[in-house]
Subunit: 115 residues, 4 copies
Amino acid sequence: MSDLEDLRLRMRAFTAERDWEQFHDPKSLLLAIVGEVGELSELFQWLPSAEAQRLATVDPLKSRVAEEMSDVLLYLVRLADVLGIDLHAAAVAKIEAAGERFSAVEVKGIAPTKA
Amino acid sequence: MSDLEDLRLRMRAFTAERDWEQFHDPKSLLLAIVGEVGELSELFQWLPSAEAQRLATVDPLKSRVAEEMSDVLLYLVRLADVLGIDLHAAAVAKIEAAGERFSAVEVKGIAPTKA
Amino acid sequence: MSDLEDLRLRMRAFTAERDWEQFHDPKSLLLAIVGEVGELSELFQWLPSAEAQRLATVDPLKSRVAEEMSDVLLYLVRLADVLGIDLHAAAVAKIEAAGERFSAVEVKGIAPTKA
Amino acid sequence: MSDLEDLRLRMRAFTAERDWEQFHDPKSLLLAIVGEVGELSELFQWLPSAEAQRLATVDPLKSRVAEEMSDVLLYLVRLADVLGIDLHAAAVAKIEAAGERFSAVEVKGIAPTKA
């Protein structure tokens, strides 16, 4: 069984055992994702940018970051399950589309701008 | 190969081909996750809560939602790669810890409150 | 003195007294905003949508919501100060532009869609 | 009239003229805030941290940043109106409480950590 499928089934069972399906409408799950992204952000907010990678790859910060990233992933997987979306297939399609949209030659070393 | 590992390798290659590793420090990737969560939120914000699930499981909305969820996942996978975090192992550990923290009997039908 | 100007000066003094200007670069302040929006989201995530307004206008939830909204506002005001942006003038310009973009007659009762 | 009060009344009128009160329940407004924070994040995500302040204080980026910050503020003001929260009073209370919690002497030059 694939990783994402494993997590999907674990979250589904976790939710069912607690009778929490009633709380898992899309807008609520989305706010839960936002909450976890917020907790992840709080771990990084005041770290000097140049040192963030080094600091977040050793404990205790690494473990805390892994926990918050897990929470984001678990709610994302749960939202996909509720909506019947195959996350792996969708992500593969998205990265292939991005590969065509951003020609490696044209954008070499240049971050796409949104401004 | 697992599907999270597949996405990790695809994002790593996509980034390297464009010489974009220089942009992928943790705080920048985190802001990219926030940007994609924001785009996902915009798809849902004005939908009536009771109809959001139904509306988001048919096209054109379903495809748009799948795209934005994919973007969140891809940047999350990329951040995990940059930090050397095994997302699947971390998520399994997190859901097992949550299983012990929230006894199925005690929280049956009751959403944990943060207030 | 205006409300926003009052908050701007209070945040500036609070920051200077603690020698925290060094942490207040734009990307860090933005992650702090995300962190506070996350805390606000956690207060609402599992509330039934139809009851959220009623529940959030009585204590203890109202006070908690007011605190997290304040944190969002304070970091937003601080970011504007760091960037030299007049938030009130910018917001008035934005709402006036939105008034022209979304004709009251054409969008009456219809939420703009992003899908 | 204070400037937050001015924005509150402008948003209230803007919403009423379009018959959009029906969309402005707290969870929906919160997702709208998330959407705008996401757009703001996209403006900053790939900027080098050390140059973000300089780049965001000149046009065209400064104007784009001011627009997205305005959107965050306007939805925040609208949410406060819907919940009957006095944002200025709440923010003053919050910063005064923070002043007592973080003694200027003890935290001088030290960012509070969440890890």
